[in-house]
């Protein structure tokens, strides 16, 4: 192993202090003799996962990552500067050029829900006050977007102070099912004190872990498999199969990861859960660790969720103090700890293998599957990865049993589903509904349409999902009905558009989103997303597409679906294709 070449640029005291505080004394000492042997190499690899927290510290200290600051991190963690720079430039929340305007940066969402609520006006107003604005992809606060008040999602990235969401300083009043006794996953939202373990316990908290330990790890896996629970992030993979596969792996460290990188445009359900019932996520992840035999729990949460991050960290601290986490977690004789990692603004890091790469301190580029995470996940070790909603279902399953769980929903889609209602509905917010409820009933639950127009389309499952029209209002919300009718539930997005909205503007923005968020690793996605966006811009300019351009839309879509590495490329053309098929794009024959 050759010595690292590090230039003469030096970090200043503020940068050094910030990085040292973030690393908490963990750094790599590679003695000269070790550099040439395996030990030096593996020591470096062991600490590489601290790169992301160190970069966050630099960004927060100065508002950008300076050459001197990066050098300090590279020397401390023994990471080659070119690689660290490659990581830093991958993320939207990191800057590697000195900002012309110092101080905090206000990120304003420009994706669909906020776009139709008037984020353009809001940005203009903020800029008129000389506020430093960054146009951001979906910030996961779509229920706050309100066309009549002009409120849109915002997130303030602090310099020298903490990141914050100003709306979080007000009490949360956008949960409309509070106290509804039929709720399973959201029953504690608005009821429990999210900062108190005692309050959580008073509302039935940690009864599930007790039940799971009484059942034994194997029986928990069996119950989860028998319940028919499938992943709620969009891919709907059976959770029981995933857990069983990890439980069967022996002899290597194992991990359970909560995928809290909720970034699909239109999705905010996990944020509401994490902010208002954080102990439930911790308890469910502990059960996952117990059931799979994993000692290491990780929470990878998107960087734009400061309140959820703080609440989860507080919950972890209290659980540690109460002995519910640690060397003998909850008296199970089993060691289990949880570490939180913040993302830094990259939609792709919600893809599981990209999430692993990001957490490990590399660029958030997805890896080819096979091999799958259950054998080669985080650090190439067996890993079960689930999102908070999926994990929450397990609390119910271990307490009421697989049969009890299956009494809700349909045979092929048992249980309940969290839906994120936004767009032109009267009461946007997260709603828990039994599988089998129709789309029309769901829209009614959210108070029906608002504004003056008629229903034009509903975006199902987010930007990676698809548009449906009024003929789908009778469709039961289940995995099987969605598949049968050529749409998807995705991450639970239900975003309503009325005919007063220009759909071409929406499609241009969706294609811009994918263009901005593609990691750039594989050719079909890196270039295909750009070409798709260019086609939509031409459509917007000319009002129609010529037959050759129309053919191009299909050609681009097919290669991205067939040949991209990951689900991002496979789904990045769905929304546009579905809008064309529905005939809601003027000037483009379906």
């Amino acid at each position: 192993m050759a010595d690292l070449y590090i230039s003469d640029e030096m970090a200043d005291d503020a940068e050094i202090a910030a990085v040292d505080a973030a690393l908490g004394g963990r750094f790599v000492v590679v003695r000269e003799s070790e550099r040439f042997v395996r030990a030096g190499t593996s020591k470096r690899h062991d600490h590489r996962h601290l790169l992301l927290p160190a970069l966050h510290a630099l960004q927060n200290a100065k508002g950008w990552i300076s050459p001197g600051g990066l050098n300090h991190v590279c020397e401390t963690l023994q990471v080659p500067p070119a690689e660290a720079y490659g990581v830093a430039t991958f993320y939207d929340l990191f800057r590697t050029d000195e900002p012309t305007q110092a101080g905090d940066v206000t990120h304003v969402c420009v994706d669909a829900a906020c776009q139709i609520a008037g984020s353009g006006k809001r940005i203009a107003a903020l800029r008129a006050q000389s506020i430093n604005v960054h146009e951001s992809p979906c910030l996961g606060q779509c229920e706050r977007a309100n066309a009549s008040t002009g409120e849109v999602a915002e997130f303030v990235q602090g310099v020298g102070g903490p990141d914050r969401v100003e709306a979080d300083e007000r009490p949360y009043e956008l949960f409309h099912q509070k106290g509804d006794e039929s709720l399973r996953l959201l029953k504690r939202i608005g009821v429990v004190d999210p900062t108190s373990l005692a309050s959580y316990r008073a509302h039935g908290g940690y009864d599930a872990l007790t039940a799971a330990m009484a059942m034994g790890a194997d029986a928990v896996c069996t119950a989860v498999a028998d319940s028919g629970l499938s992943g709620r992030g969009g891919a709907a993979f059976p959770t029981g199969i995933k857990w069983r596969a990890v439980a069967a792996e022996q002899g290597r460290p194992k991990h359970v990861v909560a995928n809290c990188d909720e970034s699909e445009p239109g999705t905010f359900k996990d944020r509401v859960v994490m902010e208002n019932d954080p102990f439930a996520v911790i308890e469910a992840l502990t059960i996952a660790g117990f059931a799979t035999g994993a000692e290491n729990g990780w929470i990878y949460i998107r960087g734009e969720y400061p309140l959820a991050t703080a609440r989860l960290q507080n919950a972890i601290n209290q659980a540690l103090e109460a002995g519910l986490l640690g060397d003998d977690a909850a008296g199970s004789g089993h060691r289990f700890t949880i570490e939180i990692r913040r993302g830094a603004g990259a939609y792709i890091c919600g893809e599981e293998t990209a999430l692993f790469a990001s957490l490990e301190g590399f660029r958030g580029e997805p890896r080819s599957k096979p091999p799958f995470p259950t054998t080669h996940g985080l650090f190439q070790e067996p890993t079960a990865i689930n999102n908070p909603e999926t994990l929450l279902n397990v609390l119910d399953i271990v307490q009421i049993g697989a049969d009890g769980y299956r009494s809700r929903g349909t045979d092929r889609s048992p249980g309940t589903k969290l839906l994120c209602l936004s767009g032109r509905v009267a009461r946007p917010g997260v709603y828990e509904v039994e599988f089998g409820t129709t789309l029309g009933e769901v829209l009614e639950l959210a108070g029906g349409l608002t504004g003056s127009g008629e229903l034009r389309a509903v975006l199902m499952g987010g930007a990676a999902g698809s548009f449906v029209d009024g003929s789908y209002l009778d469709m039961p919300i289940t995995l099987e009905h969605a598949r049968e009718r050529g749409t998807t539930l995705g991450s639970g997005v239900v975003m309503a558009f009325t005919d007063e909205i220009d759909m071409v503007d929406i499609l241009v923005r969706i294609s811009q989103f994918f263009r901005d968020e593609s990691c750039g690793q594989c050719v079909p996605c890196r270039i295909g997303c750009v070409r798709q966006h260019e086609t939509m811009v031409v459509l917007q300019q000319k009002g129609s597409l010529t037959p050759d351009r129309r053919q191009l839309v299909d050609d681009i879509s097919q290669v991205m679906v067939d040949a991209s590495i990951c689900g991002f490329g496979h789904t990045a053309t769905n929304a546009i294709n579905s809008a064309i098929e529905l005939g809601i794009v003027p000037g483009v024959p379906s």
Partner: protein
């Protein structure tokens, strides 16, 4: 201490490729299996001496029962696998990947790719037909020393140079992929010049570059003068004279002057990789602008 080594028992798998039964050792990639069946597969990011990264997707094949196409360079052949290398979907994907590349990157110096583009009927011009020109790499050549240049207008982001600079050969880590999406570029930290970076001028990035994005300054200058004549060049294999390792060199000469140096990718000592001395230290053979000796 004595050690015993068990000889692994070689097992084979048999699969069907384009209707033909092919038998290959277990662990062989589909790409190699195709090769053994006499089927030519286009590749770009794959090389014999590098770990497959499977990012270019030009070698994709259709594997029966799988929804997406598979990168043949990285996917291992399995027993009873049924592979199609010339189906409509495969032809479409290969055509489009090449077309996408051609629409944004200068592929003038990648004859192999041009051959395949012709084969699959890629039409790169169809992206520019409106007043909105298709986005291109748009990079000017970086000429920072007399040894080699980087012309990222020709870069297809195959990651080969990064691999050769890093874990697969040199362990220098002077360059990495930076940025994201279409803005991704191969770069040093903060885009500092090569002399200011960790670069040790082994030139292994030049050796693996498939499109001429990284090339010898000598080649770049000759091309600029419209005097690069590869058909007339002579290649002489010899052994590097600097140390005792025994690296084989291939001296490419034009008009009796060395214009570039490579090493055979299958050479047991180098695997195609050299150090600065072998790659660039040949001036003593032909002093530049040496005064003619007068007797």
């Amino acid at each position: 201490m004595t050690a015993t080594f068990e000889t692994p028992i070689e097992t084979t798998v048999s699969l069907t490729i384009d209707g033909k039964i092919v038998e290959v050792p277990a662990g062989t990639s589909i790409h190699k299996a195709c090769e053994s069946a006499g089927i030519d597969t286009p590749t770009l990011c794959w090389a014999e001496n590098l770990t497959p990264v499977s990012v270019c997707r030009v070698c994709v094949v259709e594997v029966e029962g799988q929804r997406a196409l598979a990168p043949s360079c990285a996917r291992a052949a399995e027993e009873d696998m049924v592979v199609e290398t010339d189906s409509d979907r495969v032809r479409h994907s290969r055509k489009m990947v090449l077309e996408f590349l051609g629409s944004g990157v200068d592929l003038d110096q990648a004859p192999e790719l041009q051959k395949w583009m012709e084969h699959y009927g890629s039409d790169t011009s169809r992206y520019d037909q409106y007043e909105l020109p298709a986005l291109k790499m748009g990079e000017a050549p970086k000429i920072q020393d007399n040894l080699y240049i980087r012309d990222y207008d020709r870069c297809v982001l195959c990651y080969k140079c990064v691999e050769a600079c890093g874990d697969d050969a040199q362990h220098t880590y002077a360059i990495a992929v930076s940025g994201r999406g279409f803005d991704a570029r191969i770069s040093t930290e903060f885009d500092v010049t090569l002399p200011d970076s960790a670069c040790v001028y082994c030139g292994n990035c030049i050796a693996v570059c498939p499109t001429g994005a990284i090339q010898f300054k000598t080649e770049y200058d000759l091309r600029g003068a419209d005097n690069w004549r590869p058909d007339e060049q002579e290649v002489t294999r010899t052994v590097c004279s600097y140390c005792g390792v025994g690296c084989n060199l291939e001296l490419h000469t034009q008009d009796d002057k060395i214009v570039k140096v490579t090493s055979p990718a299958d050479h047991s000592v180098t695997s195609g990789m050299l150090c600065i001395k072998g790659r660039f230290g040949w001036q003593y053979v032909q002093p530049l602008d040496a005064p003619t000796r007068k007797h």
